[in-house]
């Protein structure tokens, strides 16, 4: 081959590569958006995308009000069961997944959580939700006693998303993790300790049977089966279980706080990069322990827009959750 042709070939290949670079880091040529409005007797919505993607629009009767904002707990000075760099990477991905779903969040450390929770309690209502992705509660909000800040906050209507370890068992400080022997399940969910799985270093439990409300999870493209720290729902009253179950332990449970208006959502596994989209999906949808899927539209977007209407009952609280793509490339929730 002549040398000139060799250079032409090289330039062509490099040009293709640079085009890819430009699309990924410069141009961002993809646009997906949605909107929703009230119409007589219901709501209307529109979703559009210049990609080739499927979409779903879920009208969720949430039953209770859920605040928009979210606090993500992250404090590298506090001990947890997970490697700090791994948790940073995992939290970064959670943030990325929340951003594409249009969820506003702030990252808080142990002291900032205390301040936020105290403010909510003094106001008498929680204006942000909280996720603890490290499986242990910092000692600034929980000391194992019934007057702990986190329990008071849940009482006023706080929403806690939990993953990584047995709920309420581990209390973290800058010097280590203290584990409660008993009473943690009663404090949070009003059930016996053995109803929350605690077998962290012996075996993981990946559930395979559909839980009773799996259809809700399915409608949200959620298939979460990690029951390592799962919940036995036998003695729970106000809850939905949208994942899978094995050996009596459910992987993804949304339950009412036993002592008040709040909600606790337990993802029964360890924090993992590839389960963060699922966690973000649940958070973004504003799904609650008393949610009912009132309507579900789905369809295909191919450089196009789709519109729809859904009937609503004025006496109920709804969130319209629109998500696009498998895996999701966009989502947004509208309160109605």
């Amino acid at each position: 081959m002549k040398t000139g042709k060799l250079y032409v070939l090289a330039i062509a290949v490099v040009a293709f590569m640079v085009a890819g670079q430009f699309l990924a880091y410069g141009a961002n040529p993809y646009h997906t958006s949605s909107d929703s409005w009230s119409v007589y007797g219901g709501i209307g919505y529109e979703v559009s995308s210049n990609t080739s993607s499927n979409y779903d629009a879920l009208l969720i009767d949430t039953g209770i009000y859920i605040p928009d904002g979210l606090m993500i707990y992250e404090d590298s000075s506090y001990v947890s069961y997970f490697d700090q760099s791994y948790m940073l990477e995992t939290t970064d991905l959670l943030c990325s997944e929340l951003s594409l779903r249009n969820v506003e969040y702030t990252i808080v450390d142990a002291e900032q959580i205390r301040a936020e929770l105290e403010e909510d309690i003094s106001n008498g209502s929680a204006d942000m939700r909280l996720i603890i992705p490290v499986g242990v509660l910092p000692d600034t909000i929980y000391d194992g006693g019934p007057d702990s800040l986190i329990l008071k906050w849940l009482e006023t209507g706080g929403v806690l998303y939990w993953t990584g370890y047995t709920l309420g068992c581990g209390i973290s400080s800058v010097s280590g993790v203290y584990e409660r022997d008993s009473g943690y399940a009663a404090d949070f969910l009003g059930i016996a300790d053995q109803d929350i799985r605690k077998d962290p270093y012996v075996s993981s439990l990946y559930a395979t049977e559909k839980a009773e409300d799996y259809c809700i999870g399915e409608s949200m493209s959620i298939m979460y089966n990690d029951s390592t720290f799962g919940i036995n729902t036998q003695n729970l009253t106000d809850y939905i279980s949208i994942g899978f179950t094995s050996s009596g332990y459910d992987s993804l449970v949304l339950a009412k706080y036993q002592g008040g208006d709040g909600m606790i959502v337990v993802f029964g596994g360890k924090p993992a990069i590839n389960t963060m989209p699922t966690i973000a999906q649940v958070i973004a949808s504003k799904l609650t322990y008393c949610s009912v899927i009132a309507e579900h539209d789905s369809g295909k977007l191919f450089h196009s827009s789709e519109r729809g209407t859904m009937e609503t009952d004025p006496s109920k609280i709804y969130s319209l959750y629109i998500y696009v793509g498998t895996p999701q490339i966009y989502a947004r929730t509208f309160d109605h």
Binding site: L6, F16, A24, Y30, S221, M223, M276, F302
Partner: protein, 447 residues
């Protein structure tokens, strides 16, 4: 069409025409085999590219979606391809609850089944890359030997290699791209295009790291070709290094600007962590030769590569052939330790050159061993999972029973994989024997 015209396809009964037709037959056979393998794919590995593509569509960068575990070059290709695929009205795949199982957390990758449309469309660029690499081998052999038949053999050894077919058509891996850049680098070096050669080796390195081991051979080639004129050595080496650095700068610039540089080298760490730690004696170490333990064997390999490269250049003969032989020995030495089965695709490309250009037929044995044993091990590893797309979208198989059979045979597969993993030492050993043989009988084949 020009490609086949140059090969003499349009000639009718002449020797040129017959030889040209051979190339056409090889091409058709390769395409037919790829189409036949088309419906098979390993959705688990595909899922990471699908997530990365979805990441682009959601306005995220290459490493932001957290699922691209390779150096960046193929990621950039994926970005451009994602943009093109967006103009096709097909769905990338489905999540199936039938894949939720008790052995793993059911994240997207575990429950994803790629669509038949994606499986075929995704493989088109991989086939083009296979073809481009085969064509470079053909062009180089033909130019150097003037023998079209040898060039066709080189083409066939890559394009029809079971490992290459498996890698691009079933495993959906892009090792051929790395091979293409590496062969491009070697070819342009033999044409004294030092800047271009350095740039291409850089692209090969930032596609899948391994081709960098031909660096020793490149240094020896530059020194040998300069015949002791050190000023010339430095000039050529500087040109080569400049090419490498320019390409590296182009590749890495967006990552540096976005603070993603460390992610781009995660490929190496991801595959050297995990099971590589832990106790056990030397026997245990060799009895369970998982790819991540490669890091412990690397110092010995590094030494062997340096020694072999120098030995190859200490013999008399044509420098271009010595470059090819030193490169093939270097790359094959890297795979003495059992690699992830698609990695030796770059070795297949160099072996094709060693056989067709240098006339070293002894390398057909490692070619055969790599081609067969790596595929057999990967088949056991993937199991019935490569049938999921077929089962999901056709009535030929039932997805539920296909999944059940996969898990039913999983214990047996694991037992067998213990032996096939050990068998992956065999190609590497064959390479060492072939290397010694080639070095000892170097001049016989060269003349």
């Amino acid at each position: 069409m020009d490609f086949f015209h140059l090969s003499g396809v349009l000639g009718d009964n002449s020797a040129k025409g017959r030889i040209g037709r051979s190339l056409l037959y090889i091409f058709i056979a390769g395409i037919v085999l790829r189409l036949f393998l088309g419906p098979l794919s390993f959705s688990f590995d595909m899922s990471f590219f699908v997530i990365t593509g979805a990441g682009f569509e959601s306005g995220r960068t290459l490493y932001e979606a957290g699922n691209f575990y390779y150096p960046p070059v193929y990621g950039y290709f994926l970005s451009a391809l994602t943009y093109m695929w967006n103009f096709l009205p097909f769905q990338s795949g489905y999540m199936s609850e039938l894949l939720v199982n008790s052995t793993a957390v059911s994240d997207f990758s575990q429950v994803y089944i790629s669509s038949m449309a994606l499986v075929f469309v995704y493989k088109i660029p991989l086939t083009v890359i296979d073809l481009a690499c085969s064509w470079l081998i053909y062009v180089m052999v033909k130019e150097k030997t003037g023998d079209r038949r040898k060039a066709e053999i080189g083409f066939a050894l890559f394009f029809l290699s079971p490992l290459v077919l498996w890698s691009s058509s079933v495993a959906c891996m892009f090792d051929s791209l790395s091979a293409f850049f590496m062969i491009f680098s070697i070819y342009s070096l033999t044409k004294n295009q030092y800047l271009l050669s350095g740039a291409m080796l850089s692209l090969a390195f930032f596609t899948k790291l391994f081709p960098i081991v031909i660096g020793f051979a490149v240094i020896c080639y530059i020194i040998s070709g300069s015949e002791g004129r050190w000023k010339e050595v430095f000039k050529k080496a500087a040109m080569y290094a400049a090419g490498f650095a320019i390409a590296a700068a182009i590749v890495l610039l967006p990552l540096v600007l976005n603070g993603e540089l460390s992610s781009s080298f995660g490929f190496f760490g991801d595959r050297t962590e995990g099971t590589s730690s832990g106790g056990g004696g030397l026997l245990d170490f060799f009895a369970n030769p998982t790819p991540d333990k490669f890091i412990y064997a690397f110092p010995i390999m590094f030494l062997l590569i340096a020694i072999f490269s120098m030995l190859a250049f200490m013999r008399d003969g044509d420098d271009d052939k010595k470059l090819v032989m030193a490169s093939v020995i270097s790359v094959c030495t890297l795979f003495i330790w059992p690699p992830i089965p698609t990695y030796p695709v770059i070795a297949i490309a160099l072996i094709a050159l060693a056989v067709a250009y240098c006339g070293r037929r002894e390398w057909l044995i490692p070619w055969l061993l790599f081609s067969i044993l790596m595929v057999v091990h990967h088949i056991l590893n993937f199991g019935g999972r490569i049938l999921y797309t077929l089962a999901n979208e056709t009535s030929l198989l039932d997805l539920g029973s296909t999944v059940a059979k996969y898990f039913q045979f999983l214990p047996l597969s694991w037992d067998l994989m213990y032996y096939t993993l050990l068998a992956l030492f065999i190609p590497g050993i064959a390479c060492i024997i072939a290397a010694f043989y080639s070095l000892k009988h170097g001049e016989e084949a060269e003349t």
